[in-house]
């Protein structure tokens, strides 16, 4: 079913040509069941092949199609077009440098992501022959929600601290580190808490809660970050009581 036409005001930036980002307008016919991404694909296929952006799965799970839609970070393949008026602005994700058009630079995020040691740390590695470990459904529940992050980085675009403090680890990375800390199979909390208390410290978060408001996967990174603070304080306090080997 046709929804008539809508106007898209899209940010364009080509470092080879433009000194700074500019906008371009496209007026296109849209369908009632389209997501925002469908409209952008239509523009690329039919009107302007040079428009650059990332996308792949079109089912809200690969995390690559985040953009600012009318000033809010959105997963464009999940956001219904019908909930907007006749004109939409599409911009690259806020708080990230822009490489081209709607493509932002992920390097800083990937570094932070790796910094929190997002892998199982155990004093002694297990052999396959030992079989799968036991984990009660309850223990699984303790971290499950925080393992649902698709790394779409919408939360980074929404967080006021990320906007101003370039070192801040940021919601998704902290949620990921916390996910492993809360995993009953993991023994690496000390190491990660040291990271959490170091450069880019989790204590920079001012609990704006914007990250959780925009998260398309209900990861609740704000909850994770603030739980992580709680744990990091307990860990810090107990370090006065029990001497740590490494530091």
């Amino acid at each position: 079913m046709s929804l008539g036409t809508k106007k898209f005001v899209i940010t364009r930036f080509d470092p080879d040509r433009d000194t700074e980002p500019r906008t371009e307008e496209y007026e296109i016919p849209v369908q009632s069941d389209w997501k925002v991404l469908d409209a952008i694909n239509f523009i690329k296929d039919e009107i302007d092949g040079s428009l650059s952006y990332r996308w792949s799965c079109r089912m809200a799970v690969c995390g690559s199609c985040g953009m600012m839609v009318n000033g809010e970070p959105k997963l464009t393949c999940k956001t219904a077009l019908s909930s907007y008026g006749d004109s939409l602005t599409i911009e690259p994700l806020a708080n990230f440098p822009t490489i081209r058009d709607l493509v932002v630079e992920m390097d800083g995020f990937m570094d932070k992501f790796q910094k929190v040691k997002p892998w199982i740390i155990q004093a002694k590695e297990r052999a396959v022959e030992e079989g799968p470990q036991h984990q009660s459904p309850e223990d699984l529940q303790a971290f499950k929600q925080f393992s649902m992050c698709i790394n779409c980085t919408l939360c980074y675009s929404a967080c006021p601290v990320v906007a101003t403090d370039p070192e801040f680890l940021g919601p998704a990375a902290i949620a990921l580190g916390h996910r492993y800390n809360m995993d009953s199979r993991d023994e690496g909390a000390d190491e990660r808490n040291a990271v959490f208390r170091g450069e880019g410290t989790i204590f920079s978060c001012s609990y704006a809660n914007e990250c959780s408001e925009v998260c398309p996967k209900n990861v609740d990174p704000a909850g994770a970050v603030n739980q992580a603070k709680f744990n990091a304080v307990v860990d810090w306090a107990s370090s006065f009581v029990v001497k740590r080997e490494k530091e």
Partner: protein, 122 residues
């Protein structure tokens, strides 16, 4: 400066959090009394009345009284200092965070120490 700040961060956050939690819980009653009930004359300030020097002094100088006053004074200072620091950061002052933060925390520390003296002196 920054390294020092990083080391202090957990403690500051703890005090800040308690400033919000305990501070807010304690402040509400106090503010109701001095902001509403006292000006309306519902609680009296006269010699034998509720807020008289003698009665309040007796209440305040108990160990519990001293502790409550300490919490009531010091914790909001930390909440305030920390939030003001964040206001600076949010409004573009992240590059000067360390000196601003340390000054603010110095103020809160001074206030807290003074509060300790004040309750001991009672």
């Amino acid at each position: 400066m920054k390294a020092l700040l990083l080391r202090l961060e957990p403690l500051i956050w703890l005090l800040f959090g308690q400033g919000i939690l305990i501070g807010t819980i304690l402040l509400t009653g106090w503010l109701l009394v001095v902001g509403v009930l006292l000006p309306l004359g519902i609680v009296g300030t006269g010699a034998d009345e509720a807020l008289s020097y003698r009665r309040i002094y007796l209440l305040a100088s108990t160990p519990v009284g001293r502790l409550v006053i300490l919490a009531l004074v010091a914790l909001p200072l930390w909440k305030g200092a920390h939030h003001i620091r964040h206001l600076f950061i949010d409004h573009g002052g992240a590059d000067h965070d360390a000196p601003i933060a340390l000054s603010l925390y110095a103020i809160a520390t001074a206030g807290s120490l003074a509060a300790i003296v004040a309750v001991i002196r009672l």
